[in-house]
């Protein structure tokens, strides 16, 4: 019995970390076929696209519509700068492609609404890349769905990345020129810490907030109605110079009396021995659950170990990528929603936007 032909995938810009495209390629039913982008993109964008294409032995086409027409692709993987995510996703959906998009969905809720409309009108599938299939999240969902803790009443996520983002706040000469966001994030490509690359500066809520909010969506399935947030640039001069936060806390009030909170930050290399403290705590009507998102892991220590090497290595994290791709395949083949579909992704962006507004205004904000 012959296997079905792999689904051919268009890599629609891959200028930041390339784990989404790689993750999709880890599944035997998907095949990266071509990389494409608009011709009018700057040189650094083309350089990165070409590098990825070369590494994977696939062509790079500086014409998106041409690449779609000529390469028999059915899925687009979008990993551009965040400000172009939605435009590229809309174009892919309008061309009849299913879309896998890197996070964040966008830094604009109205752009997300365009994607929702395009995806639903064209009846294609959408997946925002996420971490919901990490072993710890799978375990948490099992426990909650089984009813072991009853009905969730409160859910809290700590999502601290122990990474630096340039010089510490206040460490530069007072007369120093503000740090340029785009140039700094382009340089961060070497370490993979370039999730916020683009012309528009983004704080941690925008860059990473979708991950913990996706956990909450997965485990509780509830929509936040209102938020109260505190945001600040506490650690990094880059964030202070560009008026974005690297530390935030958000109180979330959901429908059905569920409450929650998010604590998120890019807290600096020195503040955790590994990638950071990422924990979920869920209080239910009949119990509670505390989950360390990093587990299972193995700890390794040796002489002259580089400071930047994590002492604890996650196990099975790559399963998340394969499982996400498999989930998306199933969505396509059974005409069902993906694990993080377009409307949930849009709602997460709306929560982030409300939290940013609350942080700036000091007011409770209704989620739009």
């Amino acid at each position: 019995m012959s296997r079905p032909d792999p689904i051919r995938v268009l890599v629609l810009s891959v200028v930041k970390h390339d784990y989404v495209a790689r993750g999709v390629a880890s599944h035997p039913r998907f095949e990266l076929a071509v990389v494409a982008d608009d011709a009018n993109q700057p040189d650094w964008v083309h350089e990165r696209n070409e590098e990825f294409a070369r590494e994977h032995g696939i062509p790079y086409v500086r014409d998106i519509e041409k690449a779609i027409a000529e390469h028999g692709v059915r899925v687009a993987v979008v990993s551009s700068e965040a400000e172009r995510h939605c435009d590229l996703s809309v174009r892919a959906a309008d061309a009849g492609l299913h879309v896998i998009q890197d996070k964040p969905m966008s830094n604009s809720v109205s752009e997300c609404d365009r994607v929702v409309e395009a995806v639903e009108r064209n009846k294609v599938k959408f997946l925002m890349w996420n971490r919901n299939l990490l072993p710890a999240l799978v375990k948490a969902k099992e426990v909650i769905d089984r009813g072991d803790i009853g009905t969730p009443c409160a859910i809290h996520v700590d999502f601290y990345f122990a990474k630096d983002a340039g010089p510490p706040k206040g460490s530069l000469d007072p007369g120093a020129a503000p740090l340029d966001w785009l140039e700094f994030l382009k340089a961060a490509h070497a370490t993979g810490a370039d999730g916020g690359v683009g012309k528009v500066p983004m704080g941690e809520l925008s860059i990473e907030g979708c991950y913990p909010l996706a956990y909450i969506a997965l485990l509780c399935g509830a929509q936040a109605r209102r938020v109260f947030a505190r945001t600040t640039a506490h650690f990094h001069q880059l964030c202070a110079d560009n008026d974005v936060e690297d530390l935030a806390t958000v109180t979330l009030e959901f429908e059905d009396d569920l409450v929650g909170s998010l604590a998120i930050g890019r807290i600096g290399n020195a503040s955790h021995p590994d990638i950071g403290e990422i924990k979920l705590r869920v209080l239910g009507s009949e119990g509670a659950l505390v989950i360390s998102e990093a587990r299972p892991e193995v700890s390794i220590y040796y002489r002259d170990q580089p400071e930047t090497e994590f002492k604890s290595q996650r196990l099975l994290a790559e399963d998340n990528d394969y499982l996400l791709a498999d989930n998306f395949l199933r969505a396509i083949e059974t005409d069902s929603p993906s694990i993080l579909d377009v409307r949930t992704s849009r709602n997460i962006t709306a929560m982030v936007a409300a939290a940013i507004e609350s942080g700036r205004s000091g007011k409770v904000v209704e989620v739009g």
């Binding site: 009443c153 700590d158 807290i267 505390v290």
Partner: protein
Amino acid sequence: MGDLSLQIALIGHPDELPARLEALRRVRGGKVTVTADSMAAVPGGDGAFDAAVVDSSADAARAIAAGKHVLVAAPAADSIEETESLLRAAEEAGVFLAVGGLPGNTPANRVILDRLSSGKLGEPGLLRVHCWSGESNRSLVSKLYGHIDLVIRFFASSPAELYCVARGDQSYLQAHLGFAGGGMAVLDFSDRLPAGQGYDSLSLVGSSGAAYSDDHHNSHLLFTGGHPAALIDNSGDGVLFEVQRFVDAVAGEETPPSDSEAILTVHRVLDAIGRSSESHQVLHERGGIYEPA
């Protein structure tokens, strides 16, 4: 103090007295000479001791009225008015009124406070506290006092603004605090766990370091068939530290361990937390009073 020991009356619930008595055997310059479940039940009356360690405002008031220094478990009283009355009475009687049972005095939090005050953690940015237990009939003030005291100590100021959410007649409460300069704290308290051991967790993120103190880290595993159970290690309370400081203060060897204004500030913040959770409003501090914007 030489050979003279401060004679202490230890007042508390009979189930708790043996463990506390054992811990206080290590106090230098002080000795528990009498135990009882209330000041009224102290054998031999007021002459039998110099100072009292009590766990209720009523017993604190009796001790002060008898001219005894008193260390009372937090909160000194449930209301700010009653607290002010106790403080006034203590001042008029020329005795100390100290507040104990504070999370800030536990071994873990003393370490964190030390690292913070020494500059190792930088400027405090975010404090996160989870405090869960089984059903209790404790008042809001009683449940939160110690942690609000701790927050104020970490940030060296009271919050500039706060927003609080409560559920189920305050069996769950979440307090979101903001501080001048950008610092923030989120604390949640629940007494909805099934009967049994509770859960405590604290993390403090500063501009150049962080501290994590979590029951999850301090757990052992017990295998008795089926899924293993987590045995949360007892990481100690602050009772010995507090009583020692109290004894040293009474002996004149230390400054008094409590500050009236600090005690009243905690009460003002607690009052604001209650009002915010009822009104669903953000409250801002202005001249010591918390008001809507």
